[in-house]
């Protein structure tokens, strides 16, 4: 088996052994969405209007919360050094790491979102848009986030730096995704926004692994 395949397998195994690491951001996602109606107006009409935006902001912050640990452990215990020593492509490795990250953060967020939509009185017509935008948008969050995580992997408390680096890049995703859900809710066409999200996903799938591998190499060339 190639090292990339073995790493994907090992990362799933590690996630199964330490469920706290990926359950924590999911709990955060749930809590933000649950607390929102308590703090603002509990009027169902008002909530339905903001539901898409609230769910997307919560999903984005939950992803950010889980990113910090993406490469940190691998840098600290020498796994990264073994990747470089293996001579295998770091591009594939970066894609593999992002894939695992999406499976334990983006995918459960996407699956949980309809429940939160119900809680926040999301209009019936917006559910498809919500799930589709999360399914296309959260992989982008994982891919872009991997760049930031790779850059800050060697920094002691890189969490803040990571947010500063990555949040600006997340904004286009947030705008297109939230607007698709909103437009679906008021009965308008939303395939344009989803198309843009798809384009961003395709672009980041091709380009971010280059940035991730360059950043990881930088971490070790001390």
């Amino acid at each position: 088996m190639s090292l990339v395949g073995a790493t994907v397998k090992r990362d799933f195994l590690l996630a199964a052994r330490n469920p706290g690491e990926w359950l924590n951001p999911l709990m955060f996602f749930l809590m933000v969405a649950a607390l929102f109606p308590l703090a603002v107006d509990p009027d169902p009409k008002f909530l339905g209007k903001i539901a898409g935006g609230v769910i997307w902001v919560a999903a984005l912050l939950a992803t950010l919360l889980s990113l910090d640990a993406l490469f940190k452990a691998d840098v600290e215990d020498g796994s990264l050094e073994q990747w470089l020593a293996s001579g295998e492509s770091l591009y594939a490795m970066a894609l593999g790491k992002a894939l695992v990250h999406w499976c334990i953060s983006g995918l459960p967020l996407t699956l949980m979102a309809p429940v939160l939509g119900l809680m926040l009185n999301l209009p019936q017509s917006a559910y498809v848009a919500l799930i589709a935008s999360l399914a296309i948008g959260t992989p982008v969050l994982s891919l872009l986030g991997a760049v930031g995580a790779a850059l800050t992997a060697g920094v002691r408390s890189g969490g803040l730096l990571l947010s500063l680096l990555i949040l600006p890049l997340y904004i286009p995703v947030l705008i297109f995704a939230a607007s698709s859900v909103y437009h679906a809710g008021i009965g308008m066409a939303y395939n344009g926004q989803l198309g843009f999200l798809g384009a961003i996903l395709a672009l980041s799938m091709c380009l971010t692994p280059f940035a991730v591998s360059a950043a990881l190499k930088l971490n070790l060339s001390r």
Binding site: L3, G5, L14, A73, G78, E81, Q82
Partner: protein, 219 residues
């Protein structure tokens, strides 16, 4: 490519290496050559640049001047081929604490396509028999080192999947029996045509082909 002995050719050559860290020259005009059957020990006081040179020879450190060749080709060009033939063990063991020794070893040897039976035997050789299902966080520091060192046990005959071993302080945290076992493996490896580059403060005696490179004397 194979040599007369049926072993893969090991031909690592470095010329006129120069390296400085923080305006301090670690080594200059340094030539290193390693071929089949060689055991090269990098010696010198702490901070003399042993690990730097080792990482440089392993192709992991690019911050130097000079040339490194693998089988006559510049390292940058030959790297994938070189990486497939050498085993690198840094002082970080790449052992995940939440996983068991066999799961860790499976990842460490992923490129070599070893059967589970071979991996069990390797763990047996480093005396981790009976700890197969124990997460590594419950093992002692020395036992965790042994998980990584089990890779050295994977080729009892011949040079195995990686003819060139590059080891950074492999004796750290090992007990006497462990040290003796590693020494014996080093000897078997060079005798069967492999090569080893090692940093260690440990006196490696009784290995005929041992060469020492003293970085402290160089600077």
């Amino acid at each position: 490519m194979t040599a007369d002995t049926g072993q893969p050719i090991i031909d690592l050559k470095a010329q006129a290496l120069f390296c400085e860290r923080d305006d301090r020259v670690l080594f200059q005009q340094l030539d290193v050559q390693v071929g089949n059957g060689d055991l090269l020990q990098l010696a010198g006081p702490n901070g003399a640049g042993k690990t730097t040179l080792l990482r440089l020879l392993a192709g992991l450190n690019h911050d130097y001047q000079g040339d490194v060749f693998w089988c006559g080709q510049p390292m940058a060009k030959a790297y994938p081929d070189y990486a497939a033939q050498r085993l690198y063990m840094g002082h970080l063991s790449a052992v995940k604490k939440a996983l068991t020794p066999i799961e860790n070893l499976r990842w460490l040897t992923a490129a070599w396509c070893m059967s589970d039976e071979q991996l069990w035997q390797a763990l047996d050789a480093v005396e981790l028999y009976g700890y197969e299902e124990t997460p590594c966080q419950q093992l002692s520091a020395g036992q965790q080192r042994r998980v990584g060192l089990a890779r050295l046990a994977l080729a009892p005959q011949g040079t195995g999947p990686a003819p060139l071993w590059i080891l950074d302080e492999p004796f750290t945290a090992l007990d006497k029996a462990g040290v003796a076992w590693v020494e014996q493996r080093l000897q078997q490896h060079v005798e069967s045509g492999g090569a080893v580059i090692i940093t260690s403060h440990h006196a490696l005696e009784g290995i005929a082909s041992l060469r020492q490179l003293d970085l402290g004397a160089q600077a």
